[in-house]
């Protein structure tokens, strides 16, 4: 069985040769041998630099929102989670299906990613992508585990006293520098203008020494992705300060599942749970409900 990178390079150069696409957006080996970084191949020759392995975690669809991809037919390498992000972006009118050629890969799971351990959608649906590459050696696959087992931190935090929970997150948030890497790497943070970049009115204050502003940023962002998170885990991976942001999103997703039934962005169709509401849903604030 041929190594997936090889197949990938073949597909990519064919696409560029035939002129079916203008660009191939994938991954290449980073400066240090144990990382791979995003790469744009513009010619068949350049496709030689493409690779794919357990470090190719960046969600690439986000790049398509940038002007420098506008009007260019782009082939895009999508893992299961990436495909979900693409589908969401398409249904939210941010990406045109016609603008992209989807090279799906049956993802082996990224190295030490708790998400991948509990991932239910490693491979994009064969009929949804233009080509699906399989054959990543089973040996490299992470063993599948339950969401609970993969993310034990959530329960651990829930079990803490309120004081300890506060201290825990205070410590995490206070390292935040508002570098916005989590937002910029997030494949479902797709607003044209982010709320936190709004200048009139200014929703968030730029001071980096105020816990309140950190809380504001992370809570609001968690809300914006709560029902739209595709579980790629990039937010946590890219954070220079190692703030476990994914826990916030996954916590909210669990709550949503619990109260309003299971919904998976990029799998299930719109509307997302928070963008519609109905009489039959539970009421926690009524006379009987908790105050």
């Amino acid at each position: 069985m041929r190594e997936i990178g090889e197949v990938l390079r073949g597909v990519a150069s064919k696409l560029l040769n035939s002129g079916e696409v203008d660009l191939v957006l994938g991954y290449t080996r980073g400066e240090s041998s144990h990382v791979s970084v995003p790469y744009v191949a513009t010619s068949p020759e350049e496709t030689g630099n493409l690779c794919f392995d357990g470090t190719s975690s960046m969600a690439l669809s986000k790049y398509l929102l940038q002007d420098n991809f506008a009007g260019k037919k782009t082939a895009l390498i999508v893992k299961g989670c990436d495909y979900r992000a693409v589908k969401l972006s398409i249904s939210e009118n941010r990406i045109e299906r016609g603008q992209v050629y989807l090279i799906g890969v049956d993802c082996p799971g990224m190295h030490q990613s708790p998400f991948c351990m509990s991932c239910e959608y490693k491979s994009p649906p064969a009929d949804a992508v233009d080509v699906l590459l399989t054959g990543v050696e089973a040996a490299t696959r992470l063993e599948v585990s339950s969401h609970r087992r993969a993310l034990p931190e959530i329960e651990a935090i829930e079990r803490m006293s309120e004081h300890d929970r506060f201290e825990y997150w205070k410590r995490q948030f206070n390292r935040c520098k508002h570098c916005y890497t989590c937002r910029n790497a997030c494949p479902v943070c797709t607003c044209r203008v982010c709320l936190f970049d709004r200048e009139n009115p200014e929703f968030i204050d730029a001071a980096k020494d105020q816990l309140a502003q950190h809380q504001f940023y992370h809570v609001i962002r968690a809300f914006h992705v709560a029902d739209r998170c595709v579980g790629c885990g990039e937010c946590a991976r890219v954070c220079p300060e190692g703030v476990p942001l994914h826990l916030l999103h996954q916590k909210l997703q669990r709550e949503l599942d619990k109260f309003y039934g299971r919904y998976r962005a990029g799998i299930d169709e719109l509307p997302t749970p928070l963008s519609h509401a109905h009489a039959h849903e539970p009421d926690f604030f009524g006379k009987v409900g908790k105050q």
Binding site: D67, N68, A70, G71, E92, N93, R94, T190, C191, R192, V193, C194, L195, R198, N200, P201, F203, H224, L270, P271, T272, L274, S275, H276, A277
Partner: protein
Amino acid sequence: MKIGVFICWCGSNIKGTVDVEGVASYMRGLPQVVYANDVQYLCSEVGQSEIGRAIDEHNLDRVVIGACSPRMHEATFQQLMVSKGLNPFYVEMANLREHCSWVHTDKEKATAKAIDLVRKAVAKARHAIAIFSEQLEVRKRALVIGGGIAGIQAALDIADAGYPVDLLEREPSIGGKMAQFDKTFPTLDCSACILTPKMVEAAIHKNITLLTSSHVEAVSGYVGNFSVTIRKRSTSVRAELCNGCGECIAKCPRKVDNEFDQGLSKRKAIYTLFPQAVPNKPVIDRDSCIYFKTGKCALCKKVCTTGAIDYDMQDELVDRAYGAIVVATGFDLNKPQNLGEYHYGQHPDVITSLDLERMLNASGPTSGKVLRPSNGQKPKRIAFIQCVGSRDKHKGNPYCSKVCCLYTAKHAVLLSEKYPDSETYIFYIDVRAAGKNYEEFYEKARLQGAKYLRGQVSKVEPLGDKDNRLLVRGFDASLGEQMEIEADLVVLATSIVPKTDAKQLGSMLGISSDQYGFFTEAHAKLKPFETQTQGIYLAGVCQGPKDIPEAVTQASGAAAKAIIMFNKGQVKSVPTTAIVNQDLCSGCMQCESACPYEAISSEQVSERAAGQTRQRVVAGVNRVLCQGCGACAGLCRSGAMDIGGFTHRQLLAEVDSL
């Protein structure tokens, strides 16, 4: 920007608890506030001209009013702004009366709060944007829901004004509760004699269409342009063919309890609701009809000479558009089974006032004779119990049903005249006889021998004697002692309750109801006919207990409101609608599913970027459909969606000012 702040004393209503001068002088310290003053009555002529003068002198472009609730006088001040050539939404109100002076006593704290509230209003006014409303064409056709006296009156008034009306009635005939009454207080004229002419008038009126045996299935749209789906239930009788000869009824072998007579008599499975029913065409009650049960019988079909009987008749769904809707769905009377102490439902001689009403009626089950249901004998002693389920916080409703005192007096009078030898005892909490000639009528009842006993009844129980009479135990508050009355007949003044499905209709129409289920008027004092939903009006008991003249009054009032709108021919749309900032909008369209009015849909805009023109999707708002709830604005991630009068900027400014 030049802001003027005006603090109203409201006489002593605000000034009594809030240091109004202090508040005004604080405001003078705020940036952009160029004028601040306190005035005795801002809503008065004087107050208004004072504001007007200040606007001119200091050429103010924003005005902040510290006074009563905006729900009270916002319109007044918006008017003033318009007269000064300013946008009505450049005025902002701080609620210093309802939310401050009236609810607090500590002057210092109340003043501090007042300062906060006004500063908050100033902060909001600073970011006020001009808002305008659209003109909507009005569909000049009205729907009246409910064919009781209120509905009939409303329909007639609107029709007489020259506008088409559909009069919707759930039952096979219009007439409602009033048709069940024998006489009306205090004049004692026969209920039917004054009602039936109106029923007929409604039936023959060229502008009125009767829709009986029908109910509302769905409502959508907005003021001036509601679209309503009505279900005309199948009656199995083709009204257009039927000549109302009544042969079918005579021949029908199936007898069932007659609900119109409170089950005190029988009717056929094919029947008219009552002799003077309008329309006077029989209907088949499929649940009891033998043919529908067994497929046999079909006698009515055989005897019908016009072939009007049609067993295959189906329900019909009609969609109609209306400019205005009058809700006159009336009421029910609660069955006091839950009040075990009265033995109702356990002893046949414990009846409700409406039962008695039917007996007293010459065309009623007993042809006008009052008889004990248990043995058909004439009762000698009759005990009336008032407020059964009314004014009873624990087991009933806290409110007063309003009409019981008078109709009971009426019953006493009628009995004393029909049966001079009978005795009537009336147990009451107090007698409420406010109203023209009501007190006199109550007096008449006493003079004619009705014995009023002030005090509540603790128990009604069978005596167990041979003619099975009842013992009424009570407490005579005026004598301060227990008392017992042996009675042949006990009549309960059961309380008025809303129709059980009123709430359902309410949510279809988007009008709210109070904790009891009566529909809520737009303003308790000043808008008794309107609801919070423009173009929907209230008439009759569905809004709260009232007697016939009151119901008729409200009906005419509601009609007038509809007529006024029709005459204008146009209404203003809600000005405070959603606003999309299309530069910010990503076009994700998540707001579309959040909108309860389908007012949001996607639009294409073209923009130049990276040297090329591109189309992209953005959200667009239909300002006529949008009612300005803000569910979309609360949802929009980038804050591209906003609500006029309640923009992100304004709300943040308010929060920041506290």
